[in-house]
Amino acid sequence: MPDGPKYLSTDPNAGLAPAESPKYLSTDPNAGVAMLMASHETPVDKADLLKTALSVVGRSVGVPGVGGGGPVGEAAAQFTGNPKNAPAIAAMAAGPVTAGMSLPAGAALTAAAGGGGSVAKNAAEYFLGHGKPTLTDAAEDVAKDAAIQGGAQLAGGLVSKGLEAAAPKVMAAVLKPTTTLRRNNPGMDIPLEAVKQGAVVSKGGLASQADKVRGLNEAVNNAIQASDATVKPSVAAASLGDLLRERQALGPVAAGDAAKIQDALVNFVGNDAPMAVAKAQEIKKFLGAKVASRFGSQIAEPVSVDINQALRAGTKGAIAQAVPEVEALNQQLSPAIAVRKALEQRLGTAENTNVIPARVFMAHNPILAAASAVTGAPAIASRGANLMYRTGQANVAPDALRAALLAMMGGNETVGGVSPP
């Protein structure tokens, strides 16, 4: 047998409580359920536990001088007396739980021993008396965190990338943004924006998104009101100049439009006296309202809409240029509005986003069946997409999603090309 990592014990008795050891990294479809249904109620004496943990670590990791008797007691006292040892304790606590499990879990120990924040915190909280009531509970958390951190390192970020990539796809399937919405927001990936913003496809989710848009609008207005910056009309009308050149290039056929645009330009710029940004914001809103009122109606002079639209966009740009804070807010506002509109459209067509689809799962585990059915409801699926995105984004995510995906990716044999002993 080739030499392999020593932290991977295959001894099923190596764990503190093998019968209850959580199978976070198992690919057995029933294992997760068994874990979920398991009860961890047995209270255990902490000193004994620490001794046992150290003893197990001594057996499975091969720590010199640790394995029972006097050295165990000394090590226990030493470790519990010094919170700085939390990372090492974390690795030790994770050992029993991950013993006999897949390579990522074993590899997690090395990462944990290196000192992961949440791993250390969980272990320290338990061993120093502030944590979970039983060792199994604490060790579950420790092992989970360690597996997530170590596994993620071992897989070289594949898991994070996988979750990040899958999240907008799940959201897209739920949100179903319309072609019109996509066309009106060129270059914007609306499902990606939705997961970035944690949008939920439900009435409550729409209300939250609307609140967010309102809040951003208020922030824009507040920033403008508080600013003493000014805007020159010629800067705001720059986009009108672009429109004029575009129509002039069309020749005689657009001569009428060009004349109207030129008149508007001259009138708007006037003597080019600077105006307060608050005044410019009023003009922008006025122009926006005029544009909105003309869309979809019979318009005698379509060029007037083009003029108002160009002036509005130019004024918006000039305001952002004069008040940099507004520019930053606008960058959040546009996607927030697009997501709100997507939610409005989706909720207008979905009958009830909270209703779980009726499903029949013959000869199927009821819990897995329920999970499949529940994640089919838009309100839950969109929450799931958000969780996946957040998990993928975080460097250290204290939840089971990354570990689950890692286990599904790597099976029990290998991840990232590293083989077990």
Binding site: P29, V33, M37, E41, V355, A369
Partner: protein, 148 residues
């Protein structure tokens, strides 16, 4: 021994949807932070509770699973007739939102009543019919609206 290329597995998962994998779907349910998901059998016994159930109801999962949900999560004043509702649901199982137009209440471990919204759906499996309930606490302003 390498059973499967992990990159290939990742590609499959992302292309076909991770939710298509039931085990991952269970993890998703467990990672939800504000939505309780419960599985109840025909006898009214809780067979599964996700992690958020602990946050919503105050009970540990081990104190929910295996116990009658009416005893654990239904305010006492509603328990009397609820077994009949349950029987009717299993006799004609179909998805439904509950309590349309009225305030639903659930019992917290500390004895207080909490305003909730509930969606109920049947799950038909080879092992029988189950009811899956998705339960969220009502937001404060939703509660205020509902009571006016």
């Amino acid at each position: 021994m390498v059973d499967e290329d992990p990159l290939e597995r990742l590609r499959e998962l992302t292309e076909h949807g991770v939710f298509a994998d039931p085990e991952f779907a269970v993890r998703i349910l467990d990672a939800l932070d504000d939505t309780a998901v419960l599985l109840v059998d025909e006898g009214g016994v809780l067979r599964y509770a996700n992690a958020a159930s602990e946050l919503v109801f105050g009970w540990r999962r081990s104190d929910l699973v295996g116990y009658p949900f009416e005893e654990r999560l239904l305010p006492e004043r509603f328990r009397m007739g609820h077994a009949d509702y349950r029987k009717r649901f299993f006799a004609d199982p179909r998805p439904r939102p509950m309590g349309l137009g009225r305030q639903l209440r659930a019992l917290h471990r500390n004895g207080s009543e909490i305003a909730v919204e509930v969606s109920l759906s049947p799950i038909v499996t080879g092992q029988g019919i189950y009811a899956v309930a998705v339960i969220r606490k009502q937001r404060v302003h939703d509660t205020a609206t509902a009571s006016t």
